[in-house]
């Protein structure tokens, strides 16, 4: 007498029962799988983000240094006060400058890697770019503090090359300079560029890889010189990759607060301002309001980037 059901001689009843029950209820299974991660994220992460956002509407009494849950827009309004707005401007300008520098330095690397590299070279370049990206942030920053210091290797090199006077002239330039390299905006700029450079290279490289060679061959076939092919065919296709990379450099600079503390002149960045406000001052509402600034700026930037097609290049 045949039966449809196998004789389950060795199956464990409980797990088999559970498996059968879940087989029928596909959605239940999905729900069970998702609940723990969702709970975690929903409560721990999103919850705290909203708590922070909510705090930005609280009132801070500068006399008593106390925070009270009276809702107000004062914190946001004060963002436009001279000193505060300065901070935002300063951070934003550096973010833009760093983005441009990373694009200029990163593009040749990505271009060479993709278009002219042998397979072995490509692998080598890939690791060579990825490794610094993952090398510890604090280690790299520490390295630069040593390199840029007056006893450091850069100064040694500059003095030996007889460029000392050039350096001090450069350091005199108001926005860029400072007392020493390590306390100048130039130094800060160099370090930022260095740290975020791999984040610019990889999306450009990915975008370059996606351009089919036959497009460039077709362009050459139709009579375009190499420079024309680059300008008219290759670069427009790769530009979304550049934008994609710029998302990283821009937003990472906007939110950073370690490098501005360690290198460069005094003068707060959004990140350091937030840190100071929530720390010693205890003005959480203002700190929270300040954190909204990079979020808003990044979202606006992302909207532009999406329109430029950068999301497909990520």
């Amino acid at each position: 007498m045949h039966s449809l059901i196998y004789n389950a001689t060795t199956t464990k009843p409980l797990s088999r029962w559970l498996s059968n029950a879940l087989y029928r209820k596909n959605n239940l299974f999905l729900f069970l799988l998702l609940t723990p991660p969702l709970l975690w994220f929903g409560i721990v992460y999103l919850g705290s983000l909203f708590a922070l956002l909510w705090q930005s509407f609280y009132t801070f009494d500068s006399f008593s240094m106390a925070v009270s849950p009276d809702l107000t827009l004062e914190n946001y309004r004060s963002l436009f006060d001279a000193t505060n707005f300065d901070i935002i401007l300063r951070t934003g300008t550096m973010a833009i400058a760093v983005t441009l520098a990373c694009a200029c330095i990163g593009f040749p690397i990505a271009y060479y890697m993709t278009r002219y590299g042998s397979p072995a070279e490509k692998g080598f370049f890939y690791i060579a770019v990825m490794l610094p990206m993952w090398a510890s942030y604090i280690v790299k920053t520490y390295a630069w503090t040593v390199i840029l210091s007056q006893e450091g290797i850069l100064y040694w090199g500059i003095n030996h090359l007889g460029l000392a006077s050039t350096l001090s002239n450069v350091l005199q330039i108001p926005a860029i300079g400072g007392n020493t390299l390590a306390t100048s905006n130039l130094g800060r700029f160099i370090v930022f560029t260095y740290i975020w450079l791999p984040f610019m290279i990889l999306p450009i490289q990915a975008a370059l890889e996606r351009v089919p060679t036959n497009l460039l061959q077709a362009s050459a076939d139709l009579g375009a010189k190499p420079a024309q092919t680059f300008r008219r065919v290759l670069f427009p296709l790769v530009f979304p990759g550049v934008i994609a990379g710029s998302i990283f450099t821009f937003s990472l600079t906007l939110g950073d607060y370690i490098i501005p503390q360690l290198i460069g002149p005094s003068g707060l960045y959004i990140g350091t301002m937030v840190y100071t406000m929530q720390g010693s001052v205890g003005n959480m509402p203002l700190a929270a309001a300040f954190t909204v600034v990079p979020i808003v700026l990044i979202f606006i930037y992302l909207a532009f980037a999406k329109r430029a097609g950068a999301f497909d290049a990520l």
């Binding site: 039966s3 449809l4 001689t9 060795t10 199956t11 059968n20 087989y23």
Partner: protein
Amino acid sequence: MAIAVEFSAVTRHYGNVKAVDNVTISVAEGEFFSMLGPSGSGKTTCLRLIAGFEQPTHGSIKIFGQEAAGTPPYEREVNTVFQDYALFPHMNVLDNVAYGLQVKGVAKNEYINRAEEALRLVALGEYSKRKPSELSGGQRQRVALARALVNRPRVLLLDEPLGALDLKLREQMQLELKTLHNKLGITFIYVTHDQGEALSMSDRVAVFNKGKVEQCDNPRNLYTHPKTRFVADFVGTSNVISSDLAQKITGNNHPFSIRPEHISIYHNHKNVMKIEGVVADVQYHGATSKIEVDVGNKMLAFVLSNTEYSETHLPQSGQKLTLCWPQNRMVMLST
């Protein structure tokens, strides 16, 4: 004779689309039963309903008399040969074949013996230690077959198993499958879009179109007595004549189909239907030549043997011809 698989008014919805629409068929035990149709016709969905990977929205499926709804695939006495073979890449051939026995707790020496026996059955006895990535397409297909058969299923489901093989290999495998079927005596349910394959291998064929079964019959009847226009067109090649043209030829507007091999060039035949046309194309097909004739907004195709007609005696492009066929070879179609 017991009924192996029975569909009673089975429907499967995906949103608004009916992938399977009110299908009622029964497959006898030991039969080689094919489900034939173009892509998207519902035949694969039916197979998956039998295997247990899908549930019907309406209707019931019985496997050897028992209602199958709610029974998971791992508890049905049915095994599947998948279209992409689905061999487990991290196991060697022997472990792949023995997998079904291992998960049921069969003892080690027994499952090794049975797996090796199954591999010998498909002529792959020497390959037990290889990994799937080291095998050719045809070899993987046989491993998939052995893996299913080793469990001694009462019904074997095959989902377009030969689709990825080249022509010669496909023909060879068709013969081997048929031999296996005769030898093992179990029920085979075979899904394919290749009507030649279905006709040559099966005891009965169900022709699917847009989720419905248009006709379910043995191959000979399907070919000589197609019930609908779709079946006439899909099974074998056929000239399907619509009502307007039928009106001109026969005097009444009942659509019909006529196979190319029943059409000849008119030489005072009696009891035939006639039509005039102009030769549009002559195609060489080795043993025969296929001639396309434009009879006014419609191409009729007929065949001539290349042993009877030398190249110069074949009709030439542009030549005027009268075609004819016997009345009793016309198959009337439901509109």
